[in-house]
Symmetry: C2
Subunit: 312 residues, 2 copies
């Protein structure tokens, strides 16, 4: 009987892989480089080869493996069709079918990396025990994954949960990476926090430790903890955008819990001091008690969630 499952998280520079038992315990995890040349044609064969080698090393036969789940940095629909993954050079193709073929018929499931990470946090991370969850990743950008009744919400084009690109500001002049103006990502990502900090510094002549070095999201929240006024002002603006944005999301989805991850979340619980008041002020009353939690799996959320896709 199958008692193992592989989880694969394909990133722009490395592919993370994990071998799990069916309870979600990590048996092994490792990385291989992502070869993006030639439209990313080598990526799936590289993954298949690495999985075969690991099976040999662990003396696993095909019938010992429930399957392979794969998270992809781009839209993937409910049938495992990748629609595009710019960072990998991938155009539209049938991920499930292709990787299954490379693995001798083994079961394969595919999903968008942010959605898959959300599933991981629900399974073994900050959202354990819940089945209606929104996971928000505050990193270079803002990613989102939505789980409804225990299942990933992919959306009709695989673009469900693109919460970094909800419009939150009418008076923005700098364009977001997506081409729009005033996306949540422009204020709530690590780079967004830097943008808010620089604007706050430029608009004031108050002293601030942020004037002394490189402004980063980490520097801002370190300064917040030290009571720096302009850092607090920056965090307040960040919290207004993110708290109101999450309030809208809660009003639409009515989740049990919102799990915050990504590099910015390393600031810890202090984030909630700035996110929750605007959330509670603006969210529909029926959703105002939504729980907030920090993600706990870090960069491993993707391999956990990818494995979990196979088990659902």
């Amino acid at each position: 009987m199958a008692n193992h499952v592989f989880g694969v998280d394909v990133g722009g520079t490395t592919v993370k892989l994990g071998l799990f038992d069916l309870d979600g315990n990590v048996i092994d995890k490792w990385e291989i480089p992502t070869r993006t040349e030639n439209g990313g044609k080598e990526i799936l064969p590289d993954i298949a080869k690495s999985i075969r080698e690991k099976m040999k090393e662990k003396e696993l036969a095909a019938q010992d493996v429930a399957g392979v789940g794969v998270g992809v940095p781009g839209p993937v629909d409910g049938n495992g069709i990748v629609h595009k993954a710019v960072n990998l050079g991938w155009e539209q193709f049938d991920l499930k079918k292709e990787l299954t073929g490379l693995l001798g018929g083994m079961r394969v499931e595919g999903g968008n990396d942010a959605n898959v990470a959300a599933l991981g946090e629900m399974w073994k991370g900050g959202g354990q025990g819940y089945r209606n969850l929104v996971a928000v990743t505050l990193g270079t950008g803002v990613g989102g994954g939505i789980i409804i009744n225990g299942e990933i919400m992919t959306g009709s084009n695989g673009a469900g949960g693109e919460i970094g690109h909800i419009h939150v500001e009418d008076n923005e002049t700098e364009r977001c990476g997506c081409g729009n103006l005033g996306c949540l990502e422009e204020y709530a990502s690590a780079t967004g926090i830097v943008r808010l900090a620089n604007r706050t510094l430029a608009a004031s002549d108050k002293e601030s430790v942020l004037r002394n070095g490189e402004v980063s999201a980490k520097a801002v929240f370190d300064a917040v903890k030290a009571g720096d006024k302009l850092a607090v002002e920056t965090a307040r603006k960040f919290g207004e955008y993110l708290g109101k944005g999450l309030g809208v999301i809660a009003g639409i989805l009515d989740p049990e819990i919102i799990v915050i991850g990504g590099g910015v979340s390393k600031a810890g619980e202090v984030l909630f001091e700035y996110i929750k008041p605007p959330f509670e002020r603006t969210a529909f009353q029926g959703c105002r008690n939504t729980i907030f939690a920090l993600a706990t799996l870090g960069n491993d959320a993707g391999i956990y969630g990818a494995a979990k896709m196979v088990l659902d």
Copy 2:
């Protein structure tokens, strides 16, 4: 074999009932008064009695009926538990169990009326052929129903799809019925359009046909069609709020189609001239091609959707 199904839409003053065949053809439809006295205790017995009478009239035995679906004006969770229905006097109780008991064990399904109406529009209305749909009802308030992969998204408290109460304006001083400031409903409902029109008229000394009579949503859109400048200005503000709000919703849910219904939608296609430009300007590019359509079932959407719940 069961070849009939009942759909029931419980409103604050009347209960609408429909008898359908399994293809969704209406065999009969009728209304009974909603008796809200005594905490609404009579409502379900009245419904059961009316259904029994109709079965007798149509010579239907219990085995001829697949079941009874019920739409309720309040949150109903995925197990058919009503959490509250203020207009009916209902507190939390098990709707499925109670009505099943009154109908000799017949299958009963329950849902929130806005979600149920969305299902109706998907089955036989403006959203036919789609399985990922957002239905927006622009009436006295703004209601919303969300269908994902053909199923109602209820949310964890039965409050999913409360899109009338997403926060869209920071600078509002009049409170929404829900107690918050700046909800979408304050601008996109029939009463919201009147609010925007009155503000537009007060801020200008331009001529307008709207100055000559009672300002209503219908009067505004009639005046828009006649080229009245202040009416057009009102419609533009309405469209900015609703278009941007729907852009956010699309970015989160990635639906195939947005179906607009309710009294305001009687204005027709002209609505889209005002909603679509701000939608397309602000929505995530992967969702920008979302189809817009008008609802077609009017007040019958609820009975259609209620019946469909039983057939799913």
